[in-house]
Symmetry: C2
Subunit: 468 residues, 2 copies
């Protein structure tokens, strides 16, 4: 397989007399003419940096007619020699000898000028060819692989939990229905309702909102597992922070308690940020300069911080103290309320000056499966909060006591018999176990500084939006 | 993070006087009593092998009452010393000192006796605790990570193509509809049809059958990319070979021709088989002995073979020759027919005795986007066929000529304007590019020898089947 531009740019031609022979293939970003010299910047998406290909027309007159046809967006193949570059800002350039125009690009919609993010969203099929979205794609790729590496190195096994489901997991949100019922549907409804026994699966089915419950069945067999797959919310939220389809990472970890969950989450985030800082340095430098000033520094800070721990009760006390000292919140904090983004940011940015893990939330604002504390009021939940964003990870120790879990389900109006298989994990060899969820797009946003979540997934889906 | 049983079993206590202190946590597979000795086999899913924990009741009388309560399926925590084992078939065992029963397992449905695969399918939430399904889970995990490693090492970037889509990709199969329309649907139908403008996305949407077209938009920006995500078919096929929801791997590779695609597919399969043979040796030994005799040998053969190349036309000629020599096929081969499984197996098992890549299929039996040969009859498709299975990979060079692609789409009744974004890749800097698809469950079946595809995915979805 031929070297990519990122490989060419890291070679060392210093020992050679006339440079290293190289073949460059990619898309033209810019072309500049300067008397008898022509400079073409080529990018192949493997790195942020282009490779500059310099043509000396005097010694390669046969290239002139081809060069005349080349414009931004064209695909080209250029042969030459890699040599140290006299130009500033680049170590190497290609002293070009031959050029072939592969595909032209008349009226190319992605010209050199900076386009608005809205314009690029409308051209999502071409936006990965720009600086910004090439960088987002590379960071997203590196983070995805780093997630697998992190878990694989620690004995967590990748599990594919189902996408189409007949259960609603945790009542976590509105669900999309999956169906093959078509024309027969009208008839059925005329008779008073849709007859789901005629549907593909013989019952009403939906797109998953979380793979957690099924992941627990594997964690209590393999000890450690994780999912990394798409999840869905049919919520009518047309904002820059919500997607209808997004990717989620959900580790589950047996023979473990909330303390282990917190340690895992902290190690995990640090590993991801360190990997991005190390392996995506060039892309992050771009985000730092053009998208969100100071983002590199803020990632370093989290990667090197000791995460603070606060119980929810302590957090509320701190927030109330802040209010009494004159801090204004849109939503006044009180014990029992869900923490708002403004509260989370106060805790990280003002109170501790770094990441905070808040634990032991009121059971009323958390899911049925979280392990109950002895106080009868709180559960062993944890949210990991980071500066600039607030919650980035949510997790808990899972209730491993059959009677307590059944009782809680009944209180909440869930039918234990619908969850017999989930309860079986507590009937047969129950173990303390924990897990958490990380929204992958939120992570990519956090690392890149991109403001709109629709800009960190190739083809965003949201209410009223399903293009390409 | 504490060592797993697989870690304990590979430690070396030889330099120590009384063995290495160790803590074992897992689920009890069996318990045997022998006079004053009690043997407990514990498994934590990290390896096929259990660890044998040996209790000498005379020196640890306090363990007797706990041991009396322990049955198959219980979760336990056992402290002791790892020592060389006097028993056959295991290098080490745990000289156990303390034992704690974590969760009991009365009437555990997964007893030591061998259960039928049907029974285990009905208990899919517990089946990963058995030898067979623990091994399937570990092989599946290792193959998934090996796929990422293979592509990452070669500069392919992971891309998440959309799951919910408004296009139908390639007309590859029946699709599931995704909707939030509910009670209003009846009214709309009474008015002569469903009003999709009122649906969540404002149009009719479905679950993807392939991420290829969107992956091409990234390959023509990043040069090399791959998807690995769920795909769906709403086909009414209640067989051991079909799933309604399955995971697919789809690399796309720019500046490449069919020859590059073939080389990539061959390297890819060899890499996967070699990795499984090396890293899942114990699990494969089990499959080789209990599930499909000779499977290890057959994987070695493919991993070391030079893949044969045949054009479709040559393959048909060979099949016709075989017929003329008396070979009976259920479906008589002729130029223009789709190759049947029996044909594919003849080519691999009888003609070449190994893997075969068949290329240049008739355009009528392949998808619209495949690159047309100059003969006007065939396209630059390739199918990789392997012994025991037939097709394991299908791919092609993609048509990179705008006019040819538009003409072919029109011939097939597709509207070019619906695919403007896909055609834009040929309008702006078009490049030769290739790709292929690998059904992940087919791969796991091939490596494990499991006969029913429902046994190689944690929670299978098929017509009438959507449990857990």
């Amino acid at each position: 397989m031929l070297p990519l531009i990122k490989d060419l740019l890291t070679t060392d031609p210093s020992g050679t007399k006339d440079g290293l022979e190289a073949l460059v293939r990619g898309w033209v970003r810019t072309k500049r003419d300067m008397k008898n010299l022509v400079f073409i910047e080529v990018n192949d998406g493997s790195s942020f940096a282009n490779i500059q290909c310099t043509f000396d027309i005097d010694s390669h007159q046969e290239t002139a007619p081809v060069l005349a046809q080349i414009t931004t967006g064209c695909s080209v193949e250029i042969k030459g020699r890699l040599i140290p570059s006299p130009a500033a800002g680049q170590r190497l350039e290609l002293a070009a000898g031959e050029v072939r125009l592969i595909g032209d690009a008349p009226e190319y919609p992605m010209q050199k000028k900076r386009h608005s993010l809205e314009y690029l969203r409308e051209n999502a099929h071409l936006r990965a060819r720009t600086n910004t979205f090439g960088a987002v794609a590379r960071v997203r790729n590196r983070l995805a692989f780093a997630i697998h590496q992190f878990f694989q190195e620690r004995g967590f096994q990748y599990v594919n939990t189902p996408i189409i489901t007949a259960s609603d997991a945790e009542g976590a949100g509105a669900m999309f229905q999956v169906t093959t019922l078509e024309s027969s549907r009208g008839d059925a409804e005329a008779r008073g309702g849709i007859d789901y026994s005629k549907d593909f699966f013989g019952k009403r089915t939906s797109l998953t909102v979380s793979g957690q419950l099924e992941a627990e069945t594997y964690a209590t067999a393999l000890s450690r597992c994780y999912t990394f797959g798409p999840t869905f919310r049919a919520e009518n939220s047309n904002t820059s922070r919500h997607l209808a389809e997004f990717w989620m990472v959900e580790p589950e970890f047996a023979f473990a308690h909330l303390e282990d969950d917190m340690a895992l989450a902290e190690d995990f985030l640090k590993h991801l940020f360190q990997t991005a800082l190390k392996d995506c340095a060039e892309d992050l430098a771009f985000f730092n300069e053009r998208v969100e000033k100071g983002i590199i520094d803020s990632l370093h800070k989290v990667a090197n911080a000791k995460f603070a721990h606060l119980t929810y009760t302590e957090a509320i006390a701190e927030l109330e103290k802040a209010v009494s000292k004159g801090r204004a919140f849109d939503f006044k904090p009180f014990w029992g309320c869900d923490l708002q983004s403004e509260h989370e940011r106060y805790l990280t940015e003002n109170l501790t000056g770094g990441p905070v893990i808040v634990t032991d939330y009121p059971k009323e604002i958390k899911a049925f499966y979280m392990k109950q504390n002895d106080d009868g009021k709180t559960v062993r939940a944890m949210d990991v909060l980071v500066p600039r964003l607030g919650e980035i990870i949510g997790g808990s120790e899972r209730e491993d006591n059959l009677e307590k879990l059944e009782k809680r389900m009944t209180e909440l109006g869930l039918k234990p018999e619908d969850y017999y298989w989930y309860l079986d994990l507590r009937r047969y060899g129950s173990v303390p176990h924990v897990g958490f969820g990380l929204g992958f797009e939120r992570l990519v946003q956090y690392v890149t500084g991109m403001q709109n979540i629709r800009d960190v997934i190739p083809y965003p889906r949201a209410v009223g939006l399903c293009e390409f």
